[in-house]
């Protein structure tokens, strides 16, 4: 497994994540920890789009469709089975299957990138308006009421070995954190595999990938489906964190927010969008508790600043900056060595400094 050895940065970040998970109870208030479960769900959603868009080059404007489908499928399955373990698995599979069917028509129909963005967003908004109309006792799947625009309450997680032993909110936080860390490691591995590298190559130049005898439709469908499964998992933690699922998971503003997280965090990185989700969530909840500034105005401003000023996003910009500093340091060290060896040639070598 060459890939696993190459993932040094991933392991460090994962270790920091684990450290944070264990330190959280002693540094954060219980209320914050309980809220964090839903933010982690959103971070998993952001991670899924980071994979599909950032690496697969598929601008899926409606990644939240799979997030919402995952959440609703979890609630329906958990209510009907009276337990969460199978419900989680089923919800992830339903989200993936939904994406596989949608993706089959889109990718095998050779729909262009722009239309793909429009189609996925439209699907999300259709789900939004459909599910809003399901109030009333006649709209139920098995025993689960859909609840229209009020939504339905989401059963909590239980321990896999005992359906009557429910987890406390802070325990849900642990499970969600572990899920986020594992999914992050998985994605980091995936983009380094042959499959992942071909997806990146397709992002760069689909025609070329095809002339190299890769069936690009299949690869795009693959990464799209995997991304949807991850988004579905995010939806599960989100609705458990809020203890409800409402049609708002399919709303336009949720779709837009997800895109913003990825733009701010940086396309082509996995950790960037995760961090951006936490940071922007913190920002919006702080702004929400005051009335001077309008939250959407601030978010819009941030988006504009990033698109114009830091188009690559925070994480790529920072890592570029570190690399250029390192490069300069190495250059200076080389110059010093050269100067020591040939003191007379010093001026010549020194002149490269200005070119930096």
């Amino acid at each position: 497994m060459r890939e696993l050895r190459e993932m040094k940065a991933t392991w460090i970040i994962a270790a920091l994540g684990v450290l944070f998970t264990f330190a959280a109870p002693s540094i954060l208030e219980l209320f914050t920890i309980i809220t964090l479960a839903q933010v982690i769900g959103l971070a998993i959603l952001a991670l899924s789009l980071a994979l599909v868009w950032g690496f697969g080059g598929i601008l899926c404007f409606g990644q939240t469709a799979f997030f919402g489908v995952g959440a609703y499928a979890y609630v329906i399955a958990a209510v009907n089975f009276g337990g969460s373990t199978w419900a989680v698995l089923i919800a992830v599979l339903v989200a993936a299957a939904f994406a596989a069917i949608l993706g089959y028509f889109v990718f095998y129909g050779r729909v262009s990138d722009v239309y793909l963005a429009v189609i996925t967003l439209t699907v999300t908004l259709i789900l939004f308006s459909l599910i809003r109309r399901t109030s009333g006792p006649e709209y139920k799947v098995g025993n689960a009421l859909l609840g229209g625009f009020n939504g339905a309450s989401a059963p909590p997680l239980n321990y896999p070995w005992d359906v009557s032993a429910f987890m406390f909110p802070e325990q849900v936080f642990y499970v969600a954190m572990i899920a986020l860390i594992l999914v992050y490691i998985f994605c980091s591995w995936l983009v380094r595999t042959h499959f992942g590298r071909v997806c990146v190559a397709i992002r760069e130049n689909e025609d070329r990938a095809e002339l190299l005898a890769y069936d690009t439709r299949l690869y795009k469908l693959g990464i799209f489906t995997i991304g949807a499964a991850i988004a579905g998992l995010g939806g599960i933690f989100f609705c458990i964190g809020v203890s409800r699922v409402t049609p708002d998971v399919f709303s336009l503003s949720q779709s837009a927010l997800t895109i913003i997280w990825v733009i701010v965090g940086g396309r082509g990185t996995l950790i960037g969008p995760i961090l951006a989700t936490f940071a922007l969530y913190y920002l919006t909840s702080t702004l929400g508790s005051q009335s001077v500034l309008n939250t959407n105005l601030v978010l819009g401003t941030i988006l504009i600043i990033f698109v114009l000023g830091v188009p690559k996003g925070v994480v790529p910009a920072v890592s570029d900056w570190i690399q250029s500093r390192r490069g300069r340091k190495a250059l200076r060290a080389r110059e010093r060595r050269l100067q020591r060896r040939r003191p007379s040639g010093g001026q010549n070598v020194g002149s490269t400094e200005g070119a930096e």
């Binding site: 060459r2 042959h194 590298r197 071909v198 990146v200 190559a201 992002r203 760069e204 130049n205 025609d207 070329r208 990938a209 095809e210 002339l211 190299l212 005898a213 890769y214 069936d215 690009t216």
Partner: protein, 241 residues
């Protein structure tokens, strides 16, 4: 001894019309195994369109393409490439956001397991003298270098049929000479069609030349035969003057 007479690529009545433009018009073409054929013709003669019909990038309006007894008309480009056909397009077609090494590795990995792909990639990088720029993003390279990377992607896959559309465009004199050597090397094990405008270059690599004009094959023969034909001279001198 090789069976020189064996036909590996054939088109029958191949046509590609864009509205009223007959870019390729009823072309009957055939190529024998291990041939090194040059396609020449003035701008807009339909050479690139003809290539695209061979590779599945375009779906011909009429006619048939047969590669090693397989009808490939209307197939997807990856299916044609999957038969072992290597393609270099006229516009440099590379992965800009990846390094030279990653570009070539992606091509090699399609056919081989990871360690072998890595070995082949390193060999090609050495052979094409890309060592100094192996870790450079291809998007930051000069036109000529990008051409080399693309050639690397084509040959690392060890195709048996190679289609090269203007491989020397943007190359220096010295690079062009190296490309001509490289093409002769590949020809040891592969059948090749090269589209070129540089007559010097064509003369240096090919015995058999096909002249395209207005979407059709105007004549076939040696470079000497073609350049002594008054009609061919007129087309060429007319367009290159």
């Amino acid at each position: 001894m090789k069976h020189k007479a064996h036909t590996v690529l054939e088109t029958r009545g191949l046509s590609m019309h864009f509205g009223g433009v007959h870019a390729v018009d009823r072309v009957d073409f055939s190529l024998r195994e291990n041939e090194l054929r040059c396609l020449i013709g003035p701008n807009g003669a339909g050479k690139s369109t003809f290539f695209k019909c061979l590779t599945g990038q375009l779906n011909p309006t009429a006619g048939d393409v047969v590669i090693r007894d397989i009808h490939v008309t209307g197939r997807e480009p990856h299916e044609v490439a999957g038969l072992g056909v290597g393609i270099k397009t006229q516009v440099p077609n590379v992965f800009d956001g990846l390094t030279a090494e990653e570009n070539i590795w992606t091509a090699a990995r399609r056919w081989h397991k990871a360690p072998r792909a890595q070995t082949l990639t390193s060999q090609i990088i050495e052979r094409l003298r890309l060592g100094d720029i192996r870790s450079t993003l291809v998007g930051n390279m000069a036109h000529g270098q990008r051409q080399w990377v693309e050639l690397g992607m084509v040959i690392v896959a060890e195709p048996w049929l190679v289609l090269l559309d203007e491989p020397t465009a943007g190359m220096t004199h010295e690079e062009t000479a190296r490309t001509s050597e490289l093409i002769k090397e590949i020809n040891q094990s592969a059948t090749i069609i090269v589209v070129e405008h540089d007559m010097q270059f064509v003369r240096s690599i090919s015995q058999h030349v096909t002249l395209f004009h207005e979407g059709a094959i105007m004549m076939e023969g040696t470079m000497d035969e073609i350049s002594s034909d008054p009609r061919a001279r007129e087309i060429y001198l007319g367009s290159q003057a």
